[in-house]
């Protein structure tokens, strides 16, 4: 089938999609349920980048695209864009979220304690080949030993300690009307971006893209040397105000994570040297993305960031749907623009020939 077929375009694209589906396995609700249960971090990543908390739909998106994550994120975003914004949730705070993991690299011990929670950080990265022959009892509680004393369910952020000791500027607790918070999905990102837009953009940024730019920063492209003050995985209630009674109620619970990094000598003009905070948060649990993103938040806040860490460079190039879509768009025919480019090239070549042969002997 030709790429640009005479009178065949529509049939060709329908058949191409049918062939794609024919080569993948069948889809059913049971498989999607298993995906949700066994691949929660994948579901989280897609929900975070898709900025839609819907594990069932994320599982469907992953399954329907054969695991092509950029396609899956696009599916969620395109679905999300048709949904109305019904209400504004109450702010989520460390004091209310059910924290399952909270660690700090800045201190040996912290108020509330280091809570390791669920992690593979200290596991031996060996393939559990036995799973290929006999099922492993994962998912059951077996093997998990209860702590002697339960960890505090909602420890305060480590940064609170810095603020109390005056090492960090206090939080500005100004009352905000939710409707006045700029919404990235309803208004375009402009530069310099508002704080809300920056954090929203990082929240739904591409994990790999944020990691690449963040890693460049960590390797020394840019002048910050951050310390991970806190990484937190939690379950947060989505609390809404009843439109009639005004009573606050929970509409459900979401997996949520946030990270904060601190950098020394984040000076504000006319003030003593202090610590400055880089912050990132996202739906789902995604530690790699948040550590990189919170470091980028710090890097972007420098008065003169490295060119690869200016706000515009970071936020424009870590947008997963836009970056992946534009990348694959180069598959589209470009023969008109190419022909225009060839035209100028041929003319420049003809001019070069004339210049080499000013009296026209070679003609």
């Amino acid at each position: 089938m030709a790429y640009v077929a005479a009178r065949g375009g529509e049939g060709a694209i329908q058949n191409a999609e049918a062939l794609y589906r024919a080569l993948n396995g069948p889809l059913d609700a049971e498989f999607m349920g298993r995906l949700e249960q066994t691949l929660p971090y994948l579901i989280d990543r897609v929900m975070g980048e898709g900025s839609l908390y819907a594990p069932e739909l994320a599982a469907l998106a992953i399954a329907q695209t054969g695991g092509d994550l950029y396609e899956a994120v696009l599916l969620l975003r395109a679905y999300r864009s048709t949904q109305p914004r019904l209400a504004y949730a109450e702010p989520v705070s460390a004091e209310t979220m059910l924290t399952v993991r909270r660690i700090s690299a800045a201190f040996k011990d912290i108020p509330g304690g280091q809570i390791l929670g669920p992690t593979l950080d200290y596991s031996h990265r060996v393939l559990r080949l036995e799973a290929l022959s006999s099922p492993l009892p994962d998912g059951a509680r077996a093997g998990v030993r209860e702590a002697d004393a339960p960890a505090p369910p909602s420890p305060r952020p480590v940064a609170d300690w810095h603020r109390e000791t005056g090492l960090m500027a206090p939080l500005r607790n100004e009352p905000i009307t939710p409707a006045e918070i700029p919404d990235l999905t309803r208004e375009p990102l402009m530069f310099p971006a508002s704080r809300s837009h920056r954090l929203q953009a990082l929240s739904r940024a591409d994990t790999g893209g944020v990691l690449a730019l963040g890693y460049a920063n960590m390797r020394g492209y840019g002048g910050i040397h951050p310390t991970v003050n806190e990484v937190r995985l939690a379950l947060a209630e989505v609390e809404l105000k009843h439109p009639v009674t005004g009573a606050v109620f929970s509409a459900g619970r979401v997996r949520y994570s946030q990270a904060e990094v601190v950098t020394e000598f984040g000076e504000q003009e006319g003030q003593k040297p202090s610590l400055s905070l880089g912050f990132a948060a996202t739906l789902g649990w995604n530690e790699v993305k948040l550590i990189a993103a919170s470091m980028l938040d710090s890097a972007m806040s420098l008065p003169e960031p490295h060119p690869a860490h200016t706000e515009e460079f970071v936020l424009m190039h870590t947008e997963p749907v836009e970056a992946s879509g534009f990348c694959i768009h180069y598959k589209l025919p470009h023969y008109v623009t190419f022909s225009s480019a060839l035209d100028t090239l041929r003319k420049a070549r003809a001019n070069a020939d004339e210049a080499e042969d000013p009296v026209g002997v070679g003609k």
Binding site: Y3, V4, A5, A6, R7, G8, G9, E10, A12, I13, L74, L75, R77, A78, R80, S81, T82, P84, T185, R186, E187, P188, L189, M190, F191, P192, T310, E312, V321, E322, S324, G325, F326, C327, I328, H329, L332, P333, H334, Y335, V336, T337, S339, S340, A341, L342, D343, T344, L345, R346, K347, A348, N351, A352, A355
Partner: protein, 310 residues
């Protein structure tokens, strides 16, 4: 009477896919764009069920404008049957039930990537061009924050300089498609990657042209009967692609924009890029319209092109 009687029956998607809020925002942005010719209006740019970079900006504008009485044509590289054009047309039709056509003259709404049809469009028509890079200054300045200031100050000297530099270096203007234009004597504008052949068609055009970049979230307009001038020096006039001597194989037509098709042995053959114009010629369609360039390659507005194709 129950609450159910008062509500509309549930639909999975709104007419033309976008919800009313998205359409309202788009229509307001379009009106602003028309009021300030060539000015890039930022808009939210919702995700739509197409990949970004595949015409999502043009699609959003088309979906915000399309109504039951419209007839829609979609082309890519001048071709109605290009796979992505076919896909966009199928989507618009599926979400609206609207009539579609390949005829440039009977369409009321034409969405296009990289081409403007050869036949002269009329006042009853809207042309929506898909835009990859809305910022004409991006070749000389990558930061949007800075180009916004440059537009405010009409500070376009780096662009003039880049043309001057190509003249010095190559003795010719090396800007290919997406050749920058000045709209209404004020804003520098990227006409989208149409060939230079199509640039003059925007000047004092009877139709409305809307240009929309989904990924970059900007849209802008050339209202009907608006002056559109290419950046050109007095002594080095702007020139369209030199395709003199290229003849469409099946119709013998010359002096329309052609596709060059490579043949074995370093040879080429040529065919008309505007596929439906070609069809009309081949079938001697009575609806064949007047073209922007005549059979000698002269542009229909005398004196606009100062180089070849006057």
């Amino acid at each position: 009477m129950s609450l159910a009687d008062l509500t509309f029956p549930r639909q999975d998607y709104s007419y033309a896919f976008l919800d009313a809020f998205a359409k309202r925002e788009l229509r307001r942005s379009i009106l602003k764009a028309i009021a300030i010719p060539g000015y890039q209006v930022p808009y939210a740019s919702r995700e739509v069920p197409m990949a970004r970079g595949w015409g999502t900006g043009g699609l959003q504008v088309s979906l915000a404008l399309v109504g039951p009485d419209d007839t829609v044509k979609v082309i890519d590289q001048g071709d109605d049957d290009s796979v992505n054009a076919a896909n966009l047309r199928r989507f618009i039709a599926r979400m609206t039930g609207v009539k579609t056509t390949t005829d440039a003259l009977s369409a009321t709404l034409i969405q296009s990537r990289h081409r403007i049809p050869e036949e002269i469009l009329g006042e009853h028509q809207v042309l929506v061009l898909q835009v990859p890079f809305p910022e004409p200054l991006y070749q000389v300045e990558t930061s949007f924050a800075k180009t916004k200031e440059m537009h405010a100050d009409a500070e376009y000297s780096p662009m003039w300089l880049s043309i001057y530099e190509s003249l010095v270096r190559y003795n010719t203007n090396t800007h290919g498609a997406d050749y920058p234009v000045v709209v209404n004597g004020r804003y520098l504008m990227a006409p989208s990657p149409i060939p230079r052949w199509d640039n003059p068609k925007l000047h004092m055009a009877a139709h409305l042209t809307l240009l929309s970049a989904g990924r970059e979230k900007r849209l802008y307009a050339v209202p009907p009967y608006t002056e559109v001038r290419p950046l050109e020096f007095e002594d080095v006039p702007f020139e369209v692609e030199d395709q003199r001597g290229w003849t469409d194989e099946s119709t013998g037509t010359r002096n329309k924009f052609m596709n060059e098709i490579p043949l074995e042995g370093g040879l080429s053959r040529y065919e008309l890029s505007d596929s439906d114009y070609k069809r009309k010629l081949e079938t001697q369609d009575p609806k064949l319209g007047t073209t922007y360039y005549n059979h000698n390659g002269r542009f229909y507005i005398e004196g606009y092109l100062r180089g070849r194709n006057r």
